[in-house]
């Protein structure tokens, strides 16, 4: 039963790690892109939010499942 907590921790930790790297790269490229072509900045921002939302979904889902495991399955 204790392994559930380890599973939840791995789920949240690795999911967060991957998404953090992804969003970090994405934000860096957004700044780079809008510094090179400032007139494209608004359009890039829209695409950025779309991609960030796609990336963001995975860790959030992971956190939800992990919370469910900790507070409902293990409780």
């Amino acid at each position: 039963m204790e392994l559930i907590f380890v599973a939840a921790a791995i789920m949240m930790g690795l999911g967060g790690l991957g998404a953090a790297i992804g969003v970090g790269l994405l934000g860096g490229k957004l700044i780079e892109g809008s510094a090179r072509q400032p007139e494209l900045a608004p359009r890039l921002q829209g695409t950025f939010f779309l991609a960030a939302g796609l990336v963001d979904a995975i860790p959030i889902i992971g956190v939800g499942i992990a919370m469910y495991l900790i507070f409902v399955v293990a409780a």
């Binding site: 939010f49 779309l50 507070f71």
Partner: protein, 296 residues
């Protein structure tokens, strides 16, 4: 549940249970809700489920009444609001509500123009419907988690989940709708070319037909699946966190203050999430339909 002691686990499970109406099979043993007696059903009965076990016993013959009612209700709210504004619109300077709705319509229209390159007058209105409807369904997440279920409990309704997009039946149902549109337009626009696309990409040689077919079909089926599950997963996780924070209110005065602050913080962050998810659902719908219209 009245009478039972309230535990955190029970509280969370109560909040995650849909109001289910369905057919209980003959011979099923259940506790009569009004008298509290153990009874055995003599024939198949259509009734509301009291608890997850009864809902599971109903199997396929069950509908989630709350998800259906709230999603249809919100769809009607969308139609009513937009109609009310649309009849007021004029070529002059817009004011108030009209202004706000024009921003939404123009925003969706711009997105469709950027992404969708085919010729189809139905895509932009559909994108608007998808965006506003999903947004309204997600918006129910910001209603405090206890208000509606507790009011419904007073009225004698045992369960109520007010966020339709935390029900996989609703999100996957919408995704299946998008899937059928994809199929329809793929066949309508490409005709036999659709078969070619499934069998001769990415490797253009007859030997690779089985491999190509397998890869393309899996990719094609994965689109609606991920579309529905993404929305469901995000909203379910968000709702779960709202419920867990609400469960902290039982921990004494110190926890209550902390939980109140956390609730506000998460709600503010969630305003971004619900808008973003509605936007993503809309954009992906347009992208998939755009791919269906690309005839080479």
């Amino acid at each position: 549940m009245a009478g039972d002691t309230l535990t955190v686990k029970g509280y969370i499970q109560h909040h995650l249970t849909n109001l289910t109406y369905g057919k209980l099979p003959a011979g099923y043993e259940r506790v009569d809700y009004e008298t509290g007696e153990q009874i055995v059903l003599t024939e198949d009965t259509w009734t509301f489920a009291h608890g997850g076990e009864e809902a599971a016993a109903m199997g396929f013959n069950a509908v989630h009444v709350d998800s259906l009612a709230w999603s249809f209700g919100l769809g009607l709210v969308f139609c009513w609001l937009f109609r009310r504004v649309a009849v007021k619109a004029s070529s002059g300077v817009p004011a108030g509500m009209v202004n706000f709705f024009e921003i939404i319509v123009e925003f969706v229209d711009q997105n469709v123009k950027d992404i969708f390159h085919g010729r189809n007058p139905l895509v932009a209105p559909m994108a608007l419907t998808v965006f506003v409807w999903v947004f309204l369904m997600n918006l129910m997440d910001l209603v405090p988690v206890d208000v509606v279920p507790e009011l419904m409990l007073l009225l004698g309704v045992p369960y109520q989940k007010i966020v339709p997009s935390t029900d996989p039946n609703i999100t996957l149902g919408m995704a299946v709708g998008v899937f059928f549109l994809m199929l329809y337009y793929n066949i309508k626009v490409k005709g036999f070319g659709f078969v070619k696309e499934l069998t001769l990409t990415p490797f253009k040689h007859p030997v690779f037909i089985p491999l190509n077919l397998f890869m393309e079909v899996v990719g094609f089926l994965a689109k609606p699946f991920s579309l529905g599950l993404r929305l469901f997963g995000n909203m379910y996780a968000g709702e779960m966190i709202f419920i867990l924070i609400a469960a902290l209110f039982s921990g004494g005065i110190g926890w209550m203050l902390a939980a109140g602050l956390m609730q506000i913080g998460w709600a503010i962050f969630h305003i971004l999430v619900i808008t973003l998810q509605a936007f993503i659902f809309m954009v992906l719908t347009i992208v998939y339909l755009s791919q269906a219209h690309e005839d080479h």
